[in-house]
Amino acid sequence: MATSPPASASTVGRSVPRTDGPPKVTGASRYVDDIPAMPGEIFGRTVRSPVPRGILRGVRLDPAFDWSDVTVVLAEDVPVNVVALILDDQPILATGKVNHAYEPIVLLGCADRLKLARAVQAVALDIDPLPPVLDARAALDGGEIIWGADNVIKRYLITHGCADAARERGEASEAAIDAALARCEVVVTGTYASHHQEQLYIEPQGVIAWWDEAGAHATGSIQCPFYVHKAFLKAFGLPPDRIHITQSVTGGGFGGKEEYPSIIALHAALLARKSGRPVRMIYDRTEDIEATTKRHPASCEITSGCDRDGALRALKIRILMDGGAYATLTQVVLSRGALHAAGAYRWDDVWIEAAAVATNTPPNGAFRGFGAPQTIWAIERHLDRVARELGCDPLDLKAKNVLRPGDSTATGQVLRVSVAGEECITRAIAASGYRQKRAAGPVVRGRVARGIGLSVFMHGAGFTGSGERYYKGKVALDLAPGGRLRIRTASTDIGQGTETVFRQIAADAAGLPLDRVEFAVPCTTTVPDSGPTVASRTVMVVGSIVEAAARELASRVRAEQAGQEPGAGEGDGGAAAGPPALSFEEAADRLLAREGQVTSLKQYEPPDYVRWDDEAYKGDAYPCFGWACDVVEVEVDLDTFEVTVVDFWSATDVGKAIHPVMCKGQIEGGSLQAIGWALSEEIVWQGGRIKNPRMTNYIIPTSLDAPPFHVVLVEEPFPFGPGGGAKGIGEMPMDGGAPAVAAAIEHATGIAARALPLTPERLLEAAWSAGRGERL
């Protein structure tokens, strides 16, 4: 037996077969609805408000209906009627008033699915409708107050340069930025809007909940098991060790399964508590689209000033986001939007005011990019306009001003490490032939015009500011018999490959082959709280804890091999003089026999240099950023205004690609989500209700709508990242697709769209406006 594997066993940077692949391709993986029925199990359903706003007078159960085998849960059955999140403003079941269409009011449970469907029809809701506020602008104006004192969920102000100095002097920062803008040679103003987007994971939301002597259990399609755990703590008042939340194999999330599963899990658990039986709640597609969270719509009003030669000087942005009826994660989404609003560029003076308001629409929430795609859409479109004003190519304007090492961002963060904006631009331009294609002008053949456009962007890697210090994410690694390692973490694999990548990181850190590392199912009873599976932090942050724990565990075994105290002979094996007397496996088993349990529990330590002021919104918003440049080539049908994306290049800086194939898969998949957001995905509203809550009429891209993707992985290592410098990649690909598509459409047709989605109808409208001489 080899005592320690040779260096060639290293798997970081190699595209090993994904470890959860075989069960997924054979159908053996158990997603929540594949889990066999438990004895006595019943199904759960939700009765929801048909109106967006009103006073709930009462609930009537049809006396002619046989309710004998139907469990009914009302708000009065809920111990503490709050979905615990940031502001605790959302009830588990509505009571007294209704704040959005599809708000849950009554829960029903029954063993017979058909009868359950009839039972839903036998519930009458007595609601006096009130005039709803369905538009963020109307909410901000405050004609009707539906949330707090003024409908405003959160505000932020970010200032830099003269606006900052004015603030410090106690003067009006807005006046200071206005004065700075007035001094600029070229001033451009525009408003850029973006819309709701549905996550549309292919597996709908679902949970199975039950109670037993150990307490409350829920298993389901969940991104962040500890969010659900926290929600149960609040709602049921149970001690932490009597709540058991387990992730089942999860069919996609994209943020949609970050905070929402708390609600469906609470509902199932309430029905289970009252009925005394296990409850299975699986949403159908319509309920899933109607009731669950979506991307926040946003409007960004931008005024910028620059020199005639294109040096960017002053930037003023007003962001307004629509949070929907309850706060959910809105304040965090707004923060991320504001932090990315200045783009990947250097400005002397910045003033960014961001506000999020409540409306009587279903609550918006986490979605890949988390506020940044909305503001990056705006700043990228705006800079395209500035370039037009200056008579230069957007590429030249963006390349001239892109942040470089030593520059500082809008929050005053000096970029010290892993800065790759220029490199990404260079690589994307070379791969795509952007310059030649752009210079050749729009190519018109028959009724089809072809054009090319680009976007440049950066995305904060890991949590913002003091997030990691607050979360104190932990990972445990156990030594298992035979010299195996078992990773215990709350970071879930929802398709992105966490399980495989963590195994690679741990195997490399311990100097073991990949198949010696196991990944434990994330269950709040058995894994430490690693923080949520969000914000591009999984690989960069949690992966680095995995790495540290694996290193420590392996060194303990190697010390045992060498008969030393741990830490004394840390040379990653092989370096010690002479072969050890014991193999790694034998040493591990001896250590286990002696100590019973051998575990390394590690907590994340953010890099020392990260300094963030939450009050002033100043400092190191992120430990570092990921960088990218997307180039898109489109064809526009000049009769129908249908847009086909014919090619997509992305040069994305990932720090270090632990698994290049999965890394590219993330970038391609996220980019296609961005193309969908740009071109076809649209929630159609009517009176606060969704007109298209089906896959038939909410249109996401198919394989024929997807362009060939040409991904260039740029690796500018983050010194504190695992595996030799990995940064997060999950969110970035959502950021740049929409503005690049819009820029390419503009190149092809001259239509400079400023509102998403770029449907044929909207492009036609823009063309008409241009034809009437209206300024776009």
Partner: protein, 160 residues
């Protein structure tokens, strides 16, 4: 209504109302949960199975239509415990991410390769256009299918 059908090569019988969905028969009494439900209206393709060799959405097929017919599900693709070339390539080339669309994708791809052993990229994209994936951007899936086609032509792995 009793319906006899051949599922993954084995004769099976179910007793269900004739308008029950094939999807429910598979996931329920037949115990084959590899076939997934994504939308229940024939749009997402997650429930794709082969009916006498042709890909169909199992959510749109009534069990009453299946008397005497052959159904192939994802559970029928592996041969004697060995992954088929398509399955192997989906694992190795990144074709599967969250995996929920994968069973349906595999069967649409299987039907394609049965009729076109050396498909062009466009042919692959056309064959998979009824199977929605929200994770991959399709690129890895298309590459997985083309890699599997090459593997099959080269005699690697057993075709089911």
């Amino acid at each position: 209504m009793k319906v006899s059908l051949v599922v993954n090569g084995s004769p099976r019988e179910v007793d269900l109302p004739p308008l029950s969905r094939l999807l429910d028969a598979l996931r329920g009494p037949l115990g084959l949960t590899g076939t997934k439900e994504g939308c229940a209206e024939g749009e997402c393709g997650a429930c794709t199975v082969l009916l006498d060799g042709d890909p169909v959405n199992a959510c749109l097929v009534a069990i009453g239509q299946c008397e005497g017919r052959r159904v192939t599900t994802v559970e029928g693709l592996a041969c004697a415990g060995h992954l088929s070339p398509l399955q192997r390539c989906f694992v190795e080339e990144g074709g599967a991410q969250c995996g929920i669309c994968t069973p349906g994708m595999l069967l649409s791809a299987e039907a394609l390769l049965a009729r076109s052993p050396d498909p062009s990229e466009l042919e692959v994209r056309e064959a998979l256009a009824g199977n929605l994936c929200r994770c991959t951007g399709y690129q890895r899936i298309v590459e997985s299918v083309r890699a599997a086609a090459a593997l099959r032509r080269g005699g690697g792995g057993a075709a089911p």
